[in-house]
Amino acid sequence: MTEQKSGPSSLKDLDPVIHAPKRLAAMAVLANSESTDFPFLREHLGVSDSDLSKQMAALEVAGYVTISKTGRGRGATTTYRITVPGRTAYERHRAALRALLET
């Protein structure tokens, strides 16, 4: 008998790191891009520089994104990429949300 993914099981699959709305949105952007830079993410999420930095730092600590910084001064860019564990966690979290909606 297959186990239905709903209710408490789906709740268990919700990732506490990605669950925050801005982080989920950030992961969605990164999952659909090869790389994305700081200004693009900030504009899409509608957050301040410091808020975005904090959110992305949390995702980096969890091993879900990598952060690259190139250049110096005004020409410096910060670029984000999703990692393989990050993509797995994001897909699992999204599947859990869908399963919760179907209950």
């Binding site: 709740l11 268990k12 919700l14 990732d15 506490p16 669950h19 709305p21 989920l24 949105a25 950030a26 969605a28 952007v29 999952a31 659909n32 891009s33 090869e34 790389s35 994305t36 830079d37 200004p39 693009f40 504009e43 899409h44 091993g63 860019t77 564990p85 999204r94 949300l97 869908r98 919760l100 909606l101």
Partner: protein, 159 residues
């Protein structure tokens, strides 16, 4: 990797639906947000492909030396546009409206390739170069116009 202790409360249906809507909107963002290609891009693309056709069909020993600068030009443009746009989409996972336009791009490329073969074999080298230059310019212009329309439809659907 074992996840940390869960302290997520059971979200209500509305919160879950809202989260999924926002997820879909964010997933589409790399495809529909960001700077569009510059207006000169179709013409530049046409000229580049025309130059490529000229080099490949030239019967001169030095013409192949031009392949490297042509290839470098593409690298420079892609690097510049990626920085300008702020993101670079993956090859798959486009919203359905955009996916149709990507297939249009493939169809345009196929028509140009087949047409180029026919033109070269029936009319010769210079008509081929003209076909490639004008065809690619028109094809890119059509593709970009279609993409912009599709992006608008995605934005309207997702809000």
């Amino acid at each position: 990797m074992e996840s940390e202790t869960h302290d997520i409360e059971m979200p209500d249906r509305e919160a879950v639906a809202a989260a999924l809507r926002e997820d879909e909107r964010a997933a589409a963002a790399p495809w529909i947000r960001g700077t569009t290609p510059p207006a000169w891009y179709p013409v530049a693309g046409g000229l580049w492909f025309g130059a490529w056709a000229w080099v490949l069909t030239a019967d001169q020993w030095w013409s192949s030396l031009l392949l490297l600068p042509l290839a470098l030009l593409v690298g420079v443009y892609v690097r510049w546009f990626r920085r300008r746009r702020g993101t670079w989409t993956k090859w798959s996972g486009a919203p359905r409206e955009i996916d149709r336009v990507l297939w249009l791009f493939v169809a345009i490329a196929a028509v140009l390739a087949v047409g180029g073969f026919v033109v070269e074999n029936t009319l010769g080298r210079w008509p081929l170069i003209g076909w490639v230059t004008i065809g690619v310019t028109a094809g890119l212009a059509l593709y970009e116009w279609s993409y912009a329309r599709a992006a608008r439809r995605v934005r309207e659907r997702l809000g």
